[in-house]
Symmetry: D2
Subunit: 168 residues, 4 copies
C-alpha cells in the first residue's frame, strides 16, 4: 500500500530557466509513473517547478519544508511537512525517497546528493557540468548515475525501483 | 491545493484496546472529512489503528517514522517519511498538523502534546484520566480541549480548522 | 576522559524567582561536583540562572540552542551548540545528559521530561506541584525521582552517576 | 565568556594516514590558539585524530555524535553531545563553528562543506584534489579558502576569527 516516493532536488532562488523546465518535466513523468513526488517544498526554483509538473499530470506532491510555518510553501504541494530544522531537513528529503534526482547544482543540492549517497540511496544527476561529474565520480562512482534529460533520469529511476538495477 | 493534515498521537506498544478502537474511529472520521491523517507511522498501537481506520474510509495517511528505514512502518501508511531522528521526530509530527489529537497517554504522547502546545498548535486530548487533565490544564489551559469520544474530538478539530474557534 | 554532563531544564521567560534561585544553586553544585552543566542555552530563566551558578563556582557550561545564531545565548555559556532545530533540540538536551534535573515546569520542560523518560534517562523533578507529581508518577514512576531542594536533587544525581542507584 | 569553536571535519573509516596526521596537527594548533575543537566525535579517522591532537596540546574537545548512545565516541572527546539524528547532525556540526576546516574529502565531509556554505559559514579546505577544488570553486568560490598544510589552515581560520578577513 505504501507509495513509491521519488525526490527531485535542485536550486531554489538561483535555478536557471532550463533547470526549472527539466524539473517540471521530471514532475510530470514521476506523476505519470504513479510515484509520489517529494521536494524541499518551497515556492521557488526546481522545487516549485517539479511540484507544478507533477500536479499538471495529476500526481501527488510532498514538500519537506525547512521552516516551522507554511508561508513559503509552493502552491503545488499537496502535503506539506514542517520540520523547523533548516538545512538539516535535507537529510529527511533524501531518506524518504526510493531514488533522488538532482536537477542542477548548488550548495543545498550538493548537500542532498552527498547525504543521499552517505545514507546509501541511489542518486541520478541531471547535469553535464564537468566539475560536478568529476567530483562525485571521484568519491562515489558506484552510487551515482548521470542523465542528459528528464526522460533518461526517469528511466534510470524506473530501473532502480524495479530492482532491475541493484547498483549503477 | 494544500491538504489539511490532522495528527493522531498516542501510545505504541502499550496502547489499550479501547485506545486503538478510538484511534481507528478517529482515522475514519478524519478521512471522512477529507483531511489527511498524520501519525508516527509505526505498525503498533494508536498509530497503526488510526491509519487503518483512515484507509478503511478511503483516506490518505502520512507516517513520520523515527527510523532511517521502513521496516517497522504500518501497512496502512501511504506516505512514509523517514527522519532517522528518533524521538526528535515528535516535533515534526506536531508542526505539520492543523490540529493534534492525543488518544491515550504515555511518554511519547506527553512529549508530543507538550511540543504541540509549545509550538502554538491546538491540541485535543481524548482521555478522562484525571491527572492528565489536571497537569495540562495547569500549564496550558487555553491551548487544550478535552473530548470524551472520537466524534467529539473531530467536532472540535472541525471548529478549529474552520476558524470558528480561534482559541479554546 | 569524557566528562559527566548533567542537565538542568526549566522555564525560560516564565520562570519564577524561586526557580531561578534553585537553578543557580543547581549550577553551583553541579560545578562543585566537577560535572559539566548542560542547558538549553538561552539568556533567560532557569537556563541562564543555572549557567551563572555554574560559572560562579568555576564550572564549565554547555548550551544547546534552538536557533541557528548566537544572539540569544546566555553570557554564562562557555560552549554554545547551535542546532537550528527549534524545540526538536529538546531531545538533544536530554540525550547528552547522564541525569536530567527539571527545575519548575512549563511546556518546554514537560517535553524534556517526557523525552528524557522516553529515551531511558533518569530524571529528577525539583517541584512540589501536586498535578505534576501525579501526572508523571502515573506514567513513569520508576524513572523519576522527586526532590525538594537543589541539594537533594544533586544527591540523587550523584547516586545515579555513581551507579549506587540503578533505578529509583 | 563564550569560547571560540573551530570544527575539523573529514573522513571516518576511510581516512588516509596523511589525513589523520594533518587532523592531529589541526587539533594541536586549535588547542594552542585557545579555541575549542569540535568534530563529529566518533572514534575513527579525522574526528578521532583531531581530538587526540587537541588533547595532546591541552585543549578542550566537543564531539557531536550521530548516535543516541556513547559507544563509538572517541576517547579524546571531553564533551559528547548525543544527537540521535544520524547524518542530519552534520548540520549542527557546522552551525556551531566559527570556522569549518575540512581535512580530506568523502561523502560526509562533502555534505558538511556544502551545509557550511549554505549556512553562511567560512570553510577552509585542506586538500589538493583538483576535482574537489574545481567543484566547490564553481559553486561557492567566495566562501571557501584552500590550504596546503595544517599551519596554513589555522592561519586562515585565525584571520577569519580576528575579523581581519571578512570574506575570502
Amino acid at each position: 500500500m505504501r507509495k513509491t516516493i521519488v525526490g527531485v532536488m535542485g536550486p531554489g532562488d538561483n535555478a536557471t530557466e532550463q533547470e526549472c523546465e527539466q524539473a517540471y518535466q521530471l514532475g510530470q513523468l514521476i506523476a505519470a509513473q504513479g510515484w509520489v513526488l517529494l521536494t524541499g517544498g518551497r515556492n521557488v526554483g526546481v522545487m516549485d517547478a517539479a511540484c507544478r509538473g507533477a500536479k499538471a499530470a495529476g500526481g501527488l506532491t510532498v514538500g519537506i519544508l525547512p521552516t516551522k510555518t507554511f508561508e513559503a510553501v509552493s502552491d503545488a504541494v499537496d502535503i506539506a511537512i514542517a520540520t523547523d530544522m533548516g538545512n538539516a531537513r535535507n537529510n529527511i528529503n533524501v531518506l524518504s525517497c526510493a531514488v533522488v534526482i538532482a536537477c542542477g547544482m548548488g550548495m543545498g543540492t550538493a548537500s542532498e546528493v552527498a547525504l543521499a549517497i552517505k545514507n546509501g540511496k541511489s542518486v541520478v544527476l541531471l547535469t553535464q557540468d564537468r566539475s560536478t561529474v568529476e567530483f562525485f565520480n571521484n568519491i562515489a562512482r558506484d552510487r551515482i548515475a548521470w542523465a542528459d534529460s528528464a526522460e533518461e533520469a526517469i528511466a534510470i529511476a524506473f530501473s532502480v525501483i524495479s530492482n532491475q538495477l541493484l547498483s549503477f
